[in-house]
């Protein structure tokens, strides 16, 4: 009897003691947990990290991050623990009170690799509860990557409290990732987790699922994971196709922009202008000069710098083009190979002139704010500058086409192209038209330079890197046909980008060059060849 009473009383006391110990007094427990660091024993430290991480105390984060950086000091005699803050100030870890100086025998709490992992996990868990949405989102993403089992309770409590949709989504994914790796999670939980991760459907999800399907999982889970993997792979393949197509369009627009001026001088006039690339370069340097003036005089106008540079580049390159035509090219009509050599010499002169004036190194051309940054479309990232260049190219192409079709100069240009002598006898000043046509082609190259300055290095060699590609585009598309140039540029751009993942960037480019060489054998006049007697003229 007394023994039973005694036992009952003991049990009662024990439960009371337990309640007292756990429920009301986090503070007491927190201090005790902190004191464990002073033992400098790996398993005590591990316990302390676990307890502090779930304590909810505001000091938890500074303490654990101090531990991570080995700034957490302890005094073995007094069993006191201090945080040496990044700015050098010292606080008492248990109370947060400022301390003047560390005791003489204070040492850093030591860490091992296992501890470092739990410290990382604890920190990830702690930031999950941060008031800042972005911090929470980053934390949830990092937990998804680390899928540390220890953070599960924190993730779950954060998930329960979370109101922001995207953070909630990220937390749910993080939870799913943890559950998948948790060996004692129920099958239902795991299946649900696979579904959540499948819905995420990106490269990381794929990596995660591949990783777990290697481990030993219940049959159902393994099956679900395998089907999720194949479904994600399917989606990813489609997205990478879309991505390649976009890159191809983007490259195609750059090629088109560089080649469009050439399509006029080479295609319409039949003049081989090897200095075409240098016109592009001059356009890019015009942009540089405009931006320099704006930076020093009118910084507020920086966002408009490109709008100012476009007409200026057209004028600069166009004027130089007219001068070249009047002084050199007009003496060489009917001698295309000599024209080629003379314009090559000209390109050397222009390059060297720019090198002397602006130096041989790359010059800095900035992106206006509306051209920097990117947005996500599904699983691909589209940068604004590429998008704008695509739009700009299409606009230039449209304007040029309209100009040739509807203006008087366009009419005269077409007339001279088709039959020079007939046009002359109808009263068209053919030499004036020649000069203007050449100026137009060069001016458009200058405009291309403005756009290319946004994505390429502005150096004296800028033009060189485009000249061969531009000729390929024009020859491939068919000389004398702007639509051919358009189709040629986009075909080459897209083909290049689809070959790149298979063959690598350089081999892809070589393959394209070889294909063009073979293609020209098959269709010597390009995709859209001019027909009739004009060809032989």
């Amino acid at each position: 009897m007394p023994a039973i009473v005694l036992a009952l009383v003991r049990g009662l006391l024990l439960s009371i003691a337990l309640i007292v110990a756990t429920a009301p007094a986090f503070a007491a427990s927190f201090e005790e947990s902190v004191a464990k660091f002073a033992n400098d024993d790996f398993s005590d430290t591990d316990d302390a990290v676990g307890e502090i991480a779930v304590s909810g105390n505001p000091l938890a984060f500074p303490i654990i991050s101090a531990l991570q950086d080995e700034r957490l000091m302890f005094d073995a005699e007094t069993k006191k623990v201090f945080v040496k803050q990044a700015d050098g100030k010292i606080i008492d870890a248990a109370t947060g009170a400022a301390v003047d100086k560390l005791p003489d025998n204070a040492a850093a709490v030591s860490l091992n690799n296992r501890l470092r992992r739990s410290v990382d996990a604890a920190l990830g868990g702690l930031t999950l509860l941060s008031p800042d949405t972005n911090t929470r989102l980053t934390a949830a993403k990092s937990v998804f990557k680390s899928h540390e089992e220890a953070t599960l309770p924190t993730v779950e409590s954060a998930l329960a409290k979370e109101t922001n949709r995207s953070v909630k989504q990220a937390l749910a994914e993080a939870r799913a990732a943890i559950l998948l790796f948790k060996s004692d999670a129920s099958e239902v939980d795991k299946l649900e987790a696979v579904a959540t991760i499948k819905a995420r459907g990106d490269q990381e999800a794929l990596a995660l699922l591949t990783e777990i399907s290697g481990g030993d999982q219940p049959a159902n889970v393994a099956k679900a994971a395998a089907s999720a993997i194949s479904s994600i792979q399917g989606t990813l393949a489609i997205w990478s196709g879309v991505q390649n197509a976009w890159y191809g369009l983007s490259l195609g627009s750059v090629l088109l922009l560089a080649a469009i001026g050439l399509a006029i001088t080479f295609g319409v006039m039949g003049v081989i202008n090897m200095a075409h690339g240098e016109m592009v370069m001059l356009g890019a340097y015009t942009t540089f000069v405009v931006q320099e003036v704006i930076r020093t005089r009118y910084p507020a106008l920086f966002d408009y710098s490109l709008l100012i540079a476009v007409p200026l580049a057209f004028l600069v390159a166009g004027a130089i083009g007219v001068v070249i035509e009047r002084t050199i090219i007009r003496f060489l009509y009917g001698r295309p190979l000599e024209t080629l050599l003379a314009t090559w010499g000209l390109s050397l002169i222009l390059q060297q002139a720019v090198r002397s004036a602006f130096g041989p190194t790359n010059r800095e051309v900035g992106n206006p704010s509306w051209m920097s940054g990117a947005f996500e479309l599904g699983q691909i990232t589209i940068t604004y500058n590429r998008l704008w260049i695509l739009c700009f190219t299409m606009a230039v192409f449209g304007i040029l086409l309209a100009m040739l079709r509807y203006t008087a100069l366009g009419l005269e240009m077409r007339a001279v192209t088709q039959n020079r002598r007939m046009a002359a006898s109808m009263g068209i000043a053919t030499s004036r038209v020649d000069a203007l046509t050449f100026g137009l082609g060069s001016g458009i190259a200058g405009i291309a330079g403005v756009a290319l300055s946004q994505i390429d290095n502005v150096s004296p060699n800028l033009g060189q890197s485009y000249i061969i590609d531009s000729f390929m585009v024009v020859v491939f598309g068919g000389v004398g046909n702007l639509w051919g140039t358009l189709v040629g540029a986009f075909t080459l751009g897209i083909a290049n980008k689809f070959l790149e993942p298979v063959a690598g960037a350089v081999l892809g480019k070589i393959a394209i060059l070889v294909l063009i060489i073979l293609f020209i054998q098959k269709r010597p006049r390009g995709l859209f060849a001019l027909k009739g007697r004009a060809v032989e003229a």
């Binding site: 081989i272 050199i328 003496f331 060489l332 009917g334 001698r335 295309p336 190979l337 000599e338 024209t339 080629l340 050599l341 003379a342 090559w344 010499g345 000209l346 390109s347 050397l348 002169i349 222009l350 390059q351 060297q352 002139a353 002397s356 061969i468 000729f471 390929m472 020859v475 350089v506 081999l507 480019k509 070589i510 060059l513 070889v514 063009i516 060489i517 073979l518 020209i520 054998q521 098959k522 010597p524 032989e536």
Partner: protein, 386 residues
């Protein structure tokens, strides 16, 4: 046949052969026999430099053969030159043997460095000189044959041909820059030790290489002369001046073009092969499209369709390049070179020799016994487009 070897050209050719032969004998002798520091002694560095010019002159001859006499403007002859150079470079690499940094008896240093476990199949045989020498002719020749076979049969002419030859050399440039292509990537092939057992660096070897280059130049010149003054050469000139008309007359234009294009590529390959041991390095920058165009301008400066002029132009332009790029005028060299391109095409379309020949003929026509046929051959003003 007799009127083909007209007097003025014949004289120029004889003078040319004699001058080159004299250089080929006297310069090495003076370098080797006279004491160093003597006023008449040619220093070794000059022997190597002039050896380089002679190789360029062979390249220029090969371009003149197709451009001056057949109207094919190749912007890819630098590629044939470099391929010949690489073939020779591969032989020289295999001769290094265990003297390389890694001391591997089979693999060249760069292959050890890039973790090759065995020699790539296309490197086999290059330890034998006769095989390398054969490849110097075969590789550029085969490439030119395949390229020309495709291009000429589908009647790719004029600037289109120029542009695709440029694309060809550009593609090769990109390929040879790749490390896993097996030709040393952007470092190329260098650190050569021996050629046929003789030290490449030794004065005697350099002098011998110079003499050989001169001999090769004379041979190339004589071959070109033989081609252009034969009946075949007449057809080539006909193709240059009126391709369609020649075809309608029943000549297989593409066969003629293919033959002369392949021959020219082989000559360029030999030039490259002689160039490499004298310069001591071959790297992918030799494939740069700019080099090929520069070689064309040598021909234009000297005089298209004169052979002697091409060789002269190569030497003159390269001498000027060495002279100007080593002095205070270095930053202005590209201006001069650019201006040379422009001015020669505008003001001196016949080049130095062509212009000189015109003057000579004008002088001669005032004399009673001038050979009026002189002007019709070789120095007719090139006419490209139909």
């Amino acid at each position: 046949m007799a009127h083909v070897l007209t007097r003025s050209l014949d004289r120029a050719a004889t003078i040319f052969v004699l001058v080159v032969a004299a250089c080929g004998v006297l310069i090495p002798l003076s370098n080797l026999l006279l004491p160093a520091g003597s006023a008449l002694q040619v220093p070794t560095y000059l022997v190597a430099l002039w050896g380089k010019y002679v190789c360029y002159a062979i390249l220029a001859l090969s371009i003149d053969l197709i451009w001056g006499y057949c109207g094919i403007l190749s912007l890819g002859h630098g590629a044939f030159f470099a391929l010949g150079g690489y073939a020779m470079g591969m032989y020289l690499m295999r001769q290094i043997g265990t003297r390389g940094v890694y001391g591997n008896p089979i693999l060249p240093d760069f292959m050890v460095f890039l973790n090759y476990s065995k020699l790539p199949w296309y490197w086999h045989g290059f330890d034998m000189f006769w095989f390398a020498a054969l490849m110097v002719l075969v590789v550029p020749g085969l490439l030119a044959f395949c390229f020309g076979w495709l291009a000429f049969r589908s009647r790719v002419t004029g600037v289109y041909l120029s542009i695709i030859t440029q694309a060809m050399t550009y593609a090769l440039l990109l390929a040879f820059f790749r490390n896993d292509f097996g030709f040393g990537g952007n470092n190329g092939l260098t650190d050569f030790k021996d050629i046929l057992g003789f030290n490449v660096q030794a004065e005697g070897t350099r002098a011998a290489l110079f003499a050989l280059s001169c001999l090769a130049l004379i041979l190339a010149f004589l071959i070109c002369r033989a081609v252009v003054s034969s009946k075949l050469g007449k057809v080539l000139i006909a193709i240059r001046d009126a391709e369609s008309r020649t075809r309608f007359l029943g000549y297989r234009v593409e066969s003629y073009k293919l033959f002369v294009f392949t021959l020219s590529a082989c000559m360029a390959g030999v030039a490259g092969a002689l160039y490499v041991p004298q310069v001591g390095i071959i790297n992918p920058s030799e494939f740069a499209p700019g080099n090929s165009i520069e070689a064309v301008i040598w021909v234009a400066v000297g005089g298209r369709g004169t052979l002697v002029g091409a060789a002269l132009g190569a030497v003159v332009v390269n001498y000027a390049k060495t002279f100007f790029t080593s002095g205070v005028l270095a930053p202005y060299w590209l201006f001069m070179l650019g201006a040379l391109f422009v001015l020669v095409t505008l003001l001196l379309p016949k080049g130095i020799i062509g212009t000189f020949n015109s003057w000579w003929d004008q002088l001669g026509s005032k004399r009673p016994n001038a050979d009026s046929a002189a002007r019709e051959d070789g120095v007719t003003e090139p006419k490209m487009a139909e």
